[in-house]
């Protein structure tokens, strides 16, 4: 099998972030929220504080580790919600056709017309800031591509002989969709889900940066960067590490998605490219 650099590098980046988040209590030096000490404020990176400290004297290394938990939770859960919505709508629209298909198409077109971050912002305006609200806002606003893709794939698979065979054997509608169609279109859905997860991590960071996501003092990479802005001239390291963590996570997911696409979705255009 061909060595796939993007798959391995992406997988390694993502695994590193997952490990950092999961083992945060063991790896972290201090408590990310409670251990503020103004005596240690704005200490540059060194042997005691690997990534330096912020304006409240909190260890940035520990906060970045705990921040992985929030980013990954939001990324994974919200993308899972998007995938479930997108696949259910796309699959049913492609399979049943008719007025339901028209309705789903209209809904998708409408969703595509609103930039997803703007839509998420609008939802956050209604809900109070916090983790659950973020999951809802990001989980409801980014399913349109998955839906389109699933619908198109369903349309092409629906006409296959094995689906016809299953129907002749008396399989029910739901059983055909779940056992005959879904496994055969899963590849592209997994790919777009992985790429979407990277997008969700970025969106969470953006919303928290704007003060509409995870609120301080909880260590979200976005809100850490928002705090760092005020100290950019005196303590630039506060801005560097949370941003690097976001970059590494999203890069990992993007590379992973590209690598998976080469394997799972060989008909896509990038393969030829």
């Amino acid at each position: 099998m061909k060595f796939r650099a993007n798959l391995w590098i992406g997988g390694a980046c993502f695994a590193l972030v997952v490990a950092g988040g999961v083992f945060a209590p063991w790896f972290a030096h201090t408590d990310p929220v409670m251990d503020a000490n103004l005596m240690n404020a704005e200490v540059p990176p060194g042997s005691e504080f690997w990534f330096g400290t912020d304006a409240q004297g909190r260890d940035i290394y520990s906060r970045v580790l705990y921040g992985a938990r929030i980013s990954l939770t939001v990324g994974i859960v919200s993308q899972l919600i998007n995938t479930i919505i997108g696949v259910s709508l796309g699959l049913s629209a492609g399979y049943f056709g008719g007025w339901w298909d028209d309705f789903v198409n209209g809904l998708t077109n409408m969703m595509l017309a609103i930039p997803s971050l703007i839509f998420a912002l609008a939802i956050m305006a209604i809900l109070s800031p916090g983790l659950t609200s973020l999951l809802i806002a990001l989980g409801l606003t980014n399913w349109s591509f998955t839906c389109r893709l699933t619908r198109a794939a369903t349309l092409s698979v629906k006409a296959m002989g094995y689906v016809e065979a299953a129907r002749s054997l008396g399989y029910g509608t739901f059983r055909i969709m779940a056992t005959q169609i879904l496994p055969n279109i899963a590849g592209p859905i997994i790919v777009i889900g992985t790429l979407g997860m990277g997008g969700a991590v970025l969106a969470e960071a953006s919303l928290s940066f704007l003060g509409l996501g995870i609120r301080p003092p909880f260590p979200s990479w976005g809100s850490m960067l928002s705090d760092a802005r005020d100290q950019i001239s005196t303590a630039p390291w506060i801005s560097i590490f949370p941003g690097l963590a976001i970059f590494l996570t999203v890069l990992g997911l993007n590379l992973l998605g590209d690598g998976l696409r080469d394997i799972l979705d060989p008909h896509s255009r990038t393969r030829q490219a």
Partner: protein
């Protein structure tokens, strides 16, 4: 061409109406209302009578369907209501913010196009070469960069350390102010454009008509100019239109970071204050702009590739 433009414009109307309805539904179920948010500053005690009076004043007590009918009626006449905060018409606030937003969006896209498209073409002409590798590494990195982080780093390097550009603000049309926000906003579309142009050129190069053109004895320059470029352009243009939407969305963060007085920072401020009429107005304007850009892109595609308008 004109009937095609007209048809595309007509198709946008139901989408715009659906978005308007969605926004209305979203905000009419809002749990905390403006009056109580206004008062809850931790200092003053919220007086129930005051809230009731403010709700009455802003028409928040009317039944939902009446409010919706009035909302759509107002929308058609470009009356978006008054801001809860400044009491001035929302349209004024939007008009004031639209131009800076457009400037930033176009500057970012300009930056993305002039670098991204040639980069993708160069990479595609020599697949597997170092320039191909390098530009694709750059593209994947650019797509993964959080814009506001890049903005912060640019601000630190080029404004605070080197002092080449102002660190934030609008500067009343002074072009130096737009450079850093435009780069921060433009890097991700740049990366995507580079990738798409590369893929588009490679795909077109494999097409039968390219082989035919070469077989006819057309010079390599002619093949590139008339056959590859023109066909790849349609794919690139389509990406461009879609990217505009995400640029407008992402601009929210960049505008806030650089204190750029655009629609994005207005939207964020209004969301924080729950100034619902302004939030609605911002979103509608952004969606309208996105639709217009996409129609313009479709028309451009039809100009470049005449096959499109008949399908």
């Amino acid at each position: 061409m004109l009937p095609y433009v007209f048809r595309r414009l007509l198709q946008a109307i139901p989408i715009l109406l659906a978005v308007a309805a969605l926004i209305f539904v979203l905000f009419s179920v809002i749990p905390g209302n403006f009056a109580s948010t206004q008062m809850a500053d931790g200092r003053s005690v919220v007086d129930a009578a005051t809230i009731a009076r403010m709700n009455e004043q802003f028409g928040l007590n009317d039944p939902l369907h009446l409010r919706f009918a009035k909302y759509i009626g107002d929308l058609v006449t470009f009356d978006l209501g008054n801001s809860f905060r400044t009491r001035q018409p929302v349209v004024w606030a939007l008009a004031e913010r639209l131009w800076p937003s457009l400037q930033l969006a176009f500057a970012a896209m300009f930056f993305a196009i002039v670098i991204g498209v040639p980069l993708g073409f160069l990479a595609a002409l020599k697949p597997g070469s170092w320039i191909d590798m390098l530009s694709m590494i750059f593209a994947v990195s650019g797509l993964s960069l959080p814009m506001f982080w890049l903005g912060l780093l640019l601000m630190y390097a080029f404004a605070l350390t080197l002092g080449w550009f102002p660190s934030f603000g609008y500067g009343d049309g002074d072009l130096r102010y737009i450079v850093l926000p435009a780069i921060a906003l433009g890097v991700s579309p740049l990366a995507l454009l580079a990738r798409t142009s590369r893929a588009a050129v490679l795909e077109v190069m494999n097409a039968d008509f390219i082989r035919t053109a070469r077989a006819k004895g057309a010079s390599e320059i002619r093949v590139m100019r008339w056959h590859v470029l023109r066909n790849a352009l349609v794919i690139v243009l389509t990406t461009l239109g879609l990217q505009f939407g995400s640029v407008i969305g992402q601009a929210v963060v960049v505008e806030k970071l650089f204190a750029w007085p655009g629609l994005g920072s207005l939207l964020v401020d209004s969301v924080t204050l729950r100034d619902i009429p302004v939030v609605q107005g911002c979103i509608l304007t952004i969606v309208l702009f996105f639709l217009v850009v996409n129609i313009a892109v479709d028309v451009l595609c039809a100009v470049v590739d005449p096959r499109i308008k008949y399908s």
